[in-house]
Amino acid sequence: MTNVLPPFMIFILGAFVIPFLRGRVRSVYVVSLPVIGMINLLLIPADTVMTAGFLDYELTLVRIDRLSLAFGYIFHIAAFVTVIYILHVKKSLEYVAGFVYSGAALGAVFAGDLFTFFAFWETLTVGSVMLIWARRSKSSSAAGFRYLLVHVTGGLTLLAGIVMMVVETGSIHFGHIGLTGLSSWLIFMGIGVNCAWPFLHTWLTDAYPEATIGGTVFLSAFTTKTAVYALARAFPGTELLIWIGVAMAAFPIFFAVIENDLRRVLAYSLVNQVGFMVVGIGIGTELAINGAVAHACNDILFKSLLFMSMGAVIHRTGKINATDLGGLYKSMPWTAGFCIVGAASISAFPFFSGFVSKSMVMSAAGKDHMVGVWLVLLFASAGVFHHAGIKIPFFAFFGHDAGHRVKEAPKHMLVAMGITAFLCIFNGTFYKPLYSILPYPALYEPYTLSHVVTQTELLFYSALAFTLLLLSGIYPAEIRAINLDFDWFYRKPLVGLSNGLATLLNGLNRVMDRLLVKEFTGAVNEAAIDATARLAWVAIVPFIKNKDNPHPRREIFKKKLDAAFATGTSPVGLFAACAGLFIVMLFVFI
């Protein structure tokens, strides 16, 4: 017990050693870090709680229970495969950001109190934005800033809710919250931002396709799943979540069909899959929560795999738009194969991972006779096969041959994809180990003849629709274009408002600068400098002989006087007289 560390510590502290290592040593180090972390996690006994005092509160840095453990395991696996995937990267930044980010996710899921949870929640944002900026392109920099703004807003909403809740209840315990008052609503919405709820989802579809190829793989695993965990912890059985989840599952598939950037297609399908989890949490029964958690684990794997295969395509061809790709199965057969495994898994084909987890959520909705929910989820299941299952592999690796003749993905990428593909098939075929780590006893049986046949039917007839639409030319051709989404509101009108305000306020600033700083102070300054000389002149004039007027001597005298004041060499008596005169004036007038 005393030999184990808090899981996040290995990742976050371990990350800061990375910049001091180079080459092979660094590669070995970064790959072994998640392994050490996993061993440490396995050694921590269940129901362990690690606390630390902070001000007047006792923080629960680590709380190990079944819900947090499931996420803990899968986060370690995700970090492990992703870090293998990015071994070609020379700069340390991506490794450090990746480990800080995944360490923060571990910290958040094991946090037992709201303060610790919030601290890791924010670290998550910092780590993730680094992964976006690491691409070092103009568009990734802009997307990173937008990402940061959205997440900081979400984080502050969460913080406001937490502070209010702690003041109300006096407790910082992070457990079931439920929608009760304003504080719980703020926490709910704060988590909702990271969970990519409809209208709040655009940070994801905007920024994920802009990150580095490994960065996107990291990102796809942690932020949304940490939010799913937080919802499962604090808001299980909240009915509103069912409807939020249904919307998430349904609307992105329409965008995915017409999207050209294949990583953005995957980003939309990520929202769609998280929708299934959110529905599960909203239903809140043991089966539904189990389904949400199992699907989160599987989604991390197949979504990573799909993002990895698309990353390999970018790595080799430099392209990601469907319009620029096609026929890559000839040059990258292994990558194409792994991509198909990911596609089959997300589509929930029998023997692939989605089959054993998505159906739990569907069954839970069916058991509670939620007709509308069930029908939309079935529609979303068919839709996800259509855009992620068929469109991604078809447009990248088959379809029209774009003529790229490149090398197969580097070995380390193939290894990472191979491990993930293996796990996707393993979880789908031998599902017991996955079911054994779920929060509740899993009595669900995915492999019934009825389930296998109906699901295969659904998928094959979706594929039939795709085939017929494609052969008939109705299927929308990929077009070099972008599609507007809700981020339009903060990228256009809000930018317009910001520009308008900038013009108005900067204009005001300029006017004031001119009036007050340049003109007025300048005038006062000049007047002040000349004041003594003028006063002296006024005082002296009566004593200058009139006959000199307008004699040049008078002018010469004035010049001498000005020079004397300017250089500070006027006779002392004159100064004293001026000063006295000034004081008298003050005395008289004030």
């Binding site: 079935l378 068919a382 299927y475 972008i482 599609n483």
Partner: protein
């Protein structure tokens, strides 16, 4: 430059073969459906080939709505935000 070898789907007969396999499985599933007992939550799940029709119709609607409703609304030039 080295002559490129002929790949799997470069031959039209292979594409044809794949399509034949696919269409046969589709028909097979259609027939199989009548012999499988369903664990249904809702009455319509017991309708013959409900899942097949649902999958097909869902995808046709998805594609038509995306292409003819959503795309005209949201499509912009690639430099729209620049």
């Amino acid at each position: 430059m080295e002559r490129e070898k002929n790949h799997l789907f470069d031959k039209p007969e292979n594409v044809k073969r794949l399509l034949i396999i696919f269409f046969s499985s589709v028909i097979l599933l259609f027939v199989l459906d009548f012999f499988v007992h369903k664990h249904a939550h809702f009455p319509w799940e017991n309708w013959p080939v409900f899942y097949a029709i649902f999958g097909f119709v869902a995808c046709v609607i998805l594609v038509l709505v995306s292409r003819f409703v959503l795309r005209p609304l949201v499509k912009r030039r690639e430099d729209y935000y620049d």
